[in-house]
């Protein structure tokens, strides 16, 4: 059976959920071979094996942390040369997409980004994309070279599928470009203790209607009662009420949770671009004409300062 390379997104050995989803998709096409780079690479193997990786190629070197993107491209290219895979799958993070794209140039392949589904096809894997702010669904495939496809988080279930997951050291020689862009300092993002926005099953977002940074406590309280991540519209972010890292939409994060709760958000096309593929959408807005109500499964026309705290209390009491 053909092998499929899966690029592993991990933090010091802790595998992030989108990578496990990629393993599910990779198994539809062939046998997943994972590529894990940087500090903690070997520690990823156990989790990857549980989810179907037959092999885990690992490499660690200071270059992966000290320079931007290119060292990882060099490594993925080495893995491609070693395995000759039927496809290369990479998580659709900002960095993942850049790594995939540069690899595609080097191996003279086409690339499809931001797939939301993947199936095997007679002429290679067929990727589903959700485009034009989710107004259209396209199916595409790659017609030249080894298909390189990046996949959005929450596009497939995480499935247990025990496999060998044998660790093999990947030998990487860095290209001249590898040290081109130096990372001179790095400030890790502070953890909020809440689920990662793009990976969360539930996202609770606030917009301009929240009317102030301090009022976001109301949104956070609802999120915490549901075990959700917190999102914000660009209007709320631009006003300085919530960090940009929590922005949902075209120029923020794209989310596709089971449940999306929008409060005080009008539903502009650029916001919808980042949340319209959510399974269930509910909204609280005082304007019955707000476009967000065209998307919702359930909507409450009302003042969020009344409705949201009442909802939070009710969730808490129902959960006991």
């Amino acid at each position: 059976m053909a092998e499929v390379l899966v690029y592993v997104d991990h933090v010091d050995g802790a595998v992030r959920k989108p990578t496990l989803e990629l393993l599910t998709l990779a198994r539809r096409i062939g046998e997943p071979v994972a590529v894990a780079l940087g500090a903690g690479a070997e520690a990823t193997a156990a989790t990857l094996a549980e989810h179907g990786a037959v092999k885990v190629l690992t490499a660690d070197a200071p270059e992966f942390a000290d320079y931007l993107v290119v060292p990882k491209v060099d490594a993925l290219q080495a893995a491609h040369a070693a395995v000759s895979p039927a496809a290369v799958l990479v998580p659709s993070s900002a960095e993942g997409k850049e790594i995939a794209a540069r690899l595609a140039v080097r191996i003279e392949s086409g690339i499809i980004t931001d797939a939301v589904d993947l199936e095997a096809g007679d002429e290679g894997p067929v990727a589903t994309q959700s485009v034009f702010a989710a107004a259209y669904t396209t199916k595409s495939r790659i017609s030249k070279g080894t298909p390189v496809i990046t996949v959005k988080p929450n596009s497939a279930p995480v499935e247990a599928a025990p496999a060998a997951g044998a660790v093999e050291a990947l030998s990487v020689s860095f290209s001249e470009q590898a040290t081109g862009t130096k990372v001179t300092s790095r400030t890790p993002r502070e953890s909020t203790g809440r689920p990662e926005l793009t990976e969360a099953a539930i996202v609770v977002s606030g917009g301009r209607g929240v009317n102030g940074a301090e009022n976001f406590a109301i949104i956070e309280a609802l999120a915490d009662s549901l075990g959700a991540a917190v999102g914000a519209s660009r209007a709320a972010v631009d006003a300085g009420w919530y960090p940009h890292s929590n922005q949902v939409g075209q120029t923020g994060k794209s989310v596709s949770p089971q449940l999306y709760v929008a409060s005080g958000i009008s539903g502009a096309i650029q916001h919808r671009a980042g949340m319209q593929t959510s399974k269930t959408i509910v909204a609280v807005n005082k304007d019955a004409e707000a476009p967000i109500f065209d998307l919702v499964d359930y909507g409450v026309v009302g003042d969020l300062f009344e409705v949201v705290p009442q909802l939070t209390e009710e969730v808490k009491s129902r959960k006991g």
């Binding site: 850049e98 086409g110 259209y136 495939r141 862009t181 993002r189 909507g299 409450v300 969730v315």
Partner: protein, 265 residues
């Protein structure tokens, strides 16, 4: 030597219009108004600020690959203050994917001459967000992308520095010129063209290039030469109308009851 900046700008269908696909599954550009991709205005803005910081010792060329109407995008960038424009236009480019577009852009950037290429974070139609990285790969120069802050020190032979706010960390980056940069919408509001700027733009040079001028084989681009193939495009069915209730004092409880029924609680 004066700093040569090339800003890559894309002409896109208006996102607030009714965007759709033509019969050959390429973007229908006839029925929807086009404009300069809003996210590329940030790239033009940063180029202008870098030029100002260099006491005007820089020349800004805006570059687009696109159909005839893409000139509108170039005019807008020129009216914001860019010095000149390059338009790569060729019927054989219809349907080109990112591999082909980047090939053409790389050749055009080299033809124009550059110390710094500045792009937007993503187009508002294709939204791939990968073209700048590919361009750096093709040109063989450093990639300093997705910056929310950018500055150049030391002119043409100097360095570019910037801040990249990633998923897990915020990073300070540095590279020697020549380099390819992309900037996000966090880099600073783009200026509006002034009346003077709009008038001046009419007199600024716009150079037209076709595939022959760039020595690119037509078979490597366009729909036929594409590395990817769109097999189908279907309109997403409208979401079935949801239940909308007016809050009469129990709105929060009603919503909770719905969420419980859907097993979210």
């Amino acid at each position: 030597m004066s700093l040569r900046i090339v800003v890559c700008v894309k002409y896109v269908p208006d996102a607030t219009g009714d965007r759709h696909f033509a019969e050959d599954l390429t973007v229908d550009r006839d029925d929807v108004d086009g404009l300069l991709s809003e996210l590329d205005e940030y790239a033009v803005e940063q180029a202008l600020q870098i030029k100002e910081a260099a006491d005007d010792d820089a020349e800004i060329t805006v570059l687009t690959v696109g159909p005839e109407d893409a000139k509108d995008a170039l005019r807008k960038a020129l009216s914001m203050g860019a010095d000149k424009a390059v338009h790569v236009e060729d019927d054989d480019l219809h349907g080109t994917d990112v591999m082909g577009t980047s090939l053409v852009l790389a050749k055009a950037v080299e033809e124009t001459g550059y110390d710094l290429v500045i792009a937007g974070m993503a187009s508002t139609d294709g939204t791939m967000g990968v073209l700048p990285a590919i361009l750096a790969e093709r040109l063989g120069v450093p990639q300093v992308t997705l910056l929310s802050e950018v500055s150049v020190e030391g002119g043409a032979g100097g360095v570019v520095k910037g801040r990249r706010d990633g998923d897990t960390a915020s990073e300070q980056l540095e590279a020697s010129l020549p380099a390819v940069v992309s900037v996000t919408d966090q880099s600073g509001e783009a200026r509006y063209p002034s009346f003077k700027g709009i008038m001046a733009a009419k007199k600024k040079p716009v150079q037209s290039l076709d595939l022959d001028d760039l020595d690119i084989d037509a078979e490597t681009v366009g729909l036929e030469g594409a590395w990817t193939k769109v097999e189908s495009a279907t309109e997403r069915p409208a979401r079935t109308a949801g239940t909308i209730v007016k809050d009469e004092g129990e709105g929060g409880k009603q919503l909770a009851a719905y969420l419980a029924e859907q097993k979210f609680i």
